[in-house]
């Protein structure tokens, strides 16, 4: 229990600066261009840059003269140096983006249950990237490459596998064999294939995986890295020399952060540390899994209400819903949720017009019932703005919104909000409805804000009915720490509805009655 509390405190402490960074970058670039929201896709984009530049560099690399061939390439400012610089910086950016991506997934509690495969393949991807970096820097065979090779060999020699210590190859009594550089090159070229396979597995459990950032962000990133590569050209470190001990070497700290630490440790301790770290990272899905009642439950389908429209299948961001034939004689298909793939995002709750699917207690009907009960104690809602806010993002700013006079309802996800709830609030007399969603690329359920916007304004099932006055409705994408933006959106809607006529008030709009089941609901 104490450990769990400590873990939550640490998570909260890390979450605060991250949320502040999100808010700051949102102000600078807008949420569409915020690189923190695109960390995963940036990593993939940088890998593509690495492949493109790497293929070019490969043309000039010579196994028999590694340092000389790289030096010749680096000396060519027009066709070599900037490509090598871009290759280097893209590899660093890919690693940074990967680390940010992993941290976000961890802090957003998106690392367990059906996301276990994504987490584990992500850990493996990171390991492969580090290995790729190691082989890449060794290829150059300068002082830094030699230090990496020596340390890798020292640690490897602790394993009772090879009869001749690998370190012997770098002792200086004979030239480093070409076979070493050939093997190193082979690994450096072959590992991206493994990377591709792991990436495919990484996204295999999500529907409509987004692999690249928006083009403006993508080209801006490449452009900035290219600018730095040209303006601050890479230079060659001294060639690896087994007869000198350099005081310091120019090092890539992203890929060699571990070197100053491991050099002081016994190889057995290094292996133990690597094993413990890897196992710890692989165990995160089980360590972060909520226990007991806090664990979200998967969606269920009310077979009586299901019309077989397949909208929930189309909307599910995790491909967790399939259609199957009915056993009750009706001609339509019926939806079935795979609990092993369902992350309990509740997006299906809002996709179902008859409100027959969703996690227990969070279906459209449940939302309506809860809202009806909450609004029942008050007759006059005129002038009142109702705010539906995602509890993980802008919903954390309830007190500030309430202080401004808003009536705030937290929802699990904006994409979870059924349009009937919005209609109910307006028909009960609310002056306006403000929906505060997370920015789309920061939605922990991937597609919540996108589907919400389409349901409200573009007639996606279950669409907001035409009879609802859209002038009283506003959606704002706001980051969790961006209180000012949330309050600005509230003020904007207030100003807009103030110019409108007084809304028509209905005592008890029966929005769910039209789809009441003819027989008691049967859950599966």
């Amino acid at each position: 229990m104490a450990g769990s509390t400590l873990a939550h405190r640490i998570a909260a402490a890390v979450r605060r600066p991250l949320a502040a960074a999100d808010a700051g970058l949102n102000r600078l670039y807008g949420w569409r261009g915020n690189p923190l929201y695109q960390s995963g896709t940036i990593a993939v984009a940088m890998l593509l840059v690495l492949i493109a530049t790497g293929l070019w560099l490969l043309l000039f690399y010579r196994v028999g003269a590694p340092y000389e061939s790289v030096a010749r390439l680096t000396g060519n400012l027009w066709t070599g140096n900037w490509v090598r610089g871009l290759h280097r910086y893209a590899s660093d950016a890919a690693l940074v983006a990967t680390a940010v991506h992993a941290l976000r997934m961890l802090l957003q509690r998106r690392s367990w249950g059906p996301r276990t495969l994504a987490w584990i393949t992500g850990v493996l991807l990171t390991g492969v990237m580090l290995l790729l970096g190691w082989t890449g820097f060794v290829m150059v065979w300068d002082d830094f490459g030699r230090q990496l090779a020596l340390e890798g060999a020292r640690v490897l020699d602790a394993l009772p596998v090879l009869s001749e210590p690998v370190s012997r190859a770098f002792a200086g009594d004979r030239p480093v064999p070409n076979a070493f550089f050939f093997l190193n090159l082979f690994i450096h070229v072959a590992l991206p294939l493994l990377l591709g396979l792991l990436l495919w597995l990484h996204v295999s459990r999500v529907a409509r995986a987004v692999l690249l950032p928006p083009r403006p962000l993508l080209w801006s990133l490449v452009g900035v890295l290219l600018l730095v590569a040209v303006a601050w050209p890479l230079s060659m470190a001294p060639a690896a020399d087994p007869f000198t001990l350099p005081a310091s070497v120019p090092a890539d700290w992203f890929y060699a952060f571990w070197l100053p630490v491991t050099r002081r440790l016994d190889p057995a301790v290094v292996w133990a540390g690597v094993a413990a770290g890897t196992l710890g990272m692989l165990a995160v899905p089980w360590l972060t899994r909520p226990g007991g009642r806090r664990r979200p439950v998967p969606s269920v389908v009310d077979r009586q209400l299901c019309t077989g429209c397949e909208q929930c299948v189309q909307d599910c961001p995790y491909d967790a819903i399939r259609m199957e034939t009915r056993s009750d004689g009706r001609e339509t298909l019926v939806a079935r949720v795979d609990p092993l793939r369902c992350v309990s995002c509740g997006i299906c709750s809002a996709s179902c017009a008859p409100m027959g699917v969703g996690p227990v207690g969070r279906t459209g009907r449940d939302q309506l019932a809860e809202l009806r009960a909450a609004m029942a104690g008050r007759d006059d809602w005129s002038g009142q703005v109702v705010v539906f806010a995602c509890q993980y993002g802008p919903g954390t700013r309830v007190s500030a919104l309430t202080a401004e006079g808003a009536w705030v309802r937290q929802v699990d996800c904006a994409g979870n909000l059924h349009t009937s709830a919005v209609e109910y609030a307006i028909r009960r007399g609310a002056a306006g409805v403000l929906i505060l969603s997370c920015p789309p690329r920061d939605c922990r359920n991937r597609e919540g804000p996108v589907w919400l916007e389409q349901r409200l304004f573009h007639e996606r099932e279950a669409e907001l009915q035409a009879r609802v006055d859209r002038r009283r409705l506003q959606v704002a994408c706001v980051g969790g720490a961006d209180e000012a933006a949330a309050l600005a959106a509230l003020a904007g809607l207030r100003a807009a509805v103030a110019r409108l006529e007084r809304p028509t008030v209905e005592d008890e709009p029966a929005l769910d009655a039209v789809c009441e089941p003819s027989v008691p609901a049967e859950g599966i």
Partner: protein
Amino acid sequence: MTPVVRRAAGGAVALGIALLLAWLSRAPMRVSRSDAGIIRVAWSARPERVERCVTRTDEELRDVPSHMRQRVACEGRSARYRLLVRRDGEVLADEVVAGAGARQDRPIYVLREFSTQPGAMRLEVSLRRLDSVAPDPGPDADDREAGEAVPDRERRERQERGRRLGEAMPPSLTLSAEHLMAPRSVLLVTYDAERRALVARSADGSP
């Protein structure tokens, strides 16, 4: 914040982060805190063999598959050696080295490093065989025993045994050298297979 200011600030932040990334990709990393150098003792060489050889008769050879018909069959292990490293009389290493591998039938791989302060020093390295090895019967011993023309295969066997014997380290190796150790330099002591002797090398080529 006006859009122009926001764009300028966004560009500056992006450039700043990229420059930080570029600097961290080449920032110096300290790898040696002192001026100390290293004496590196490193080589790989085949040791002599401690083995018992049996000359098999024609009847015995007939009982084994044709590809295994080896006239002289030897079993044994590699000899062990005592490695002694002294710097100005101080013993840096005194240990037994043996062939690598689970059966110790691989070459002896030596790799030892000793940190040492810059300056003049006297280095002594010796390697002496600990096990006794049976003397080589000589290239014509089998011929004399057989008293007949030697088949080609058996001649090749003898040549192979002779080659292995020639490649093996001598029973005793010694190196004694004065050396002026430069700061952060490496003095390598290795086995020169052609000269069948221990030699010292450094960056400037001097022992």
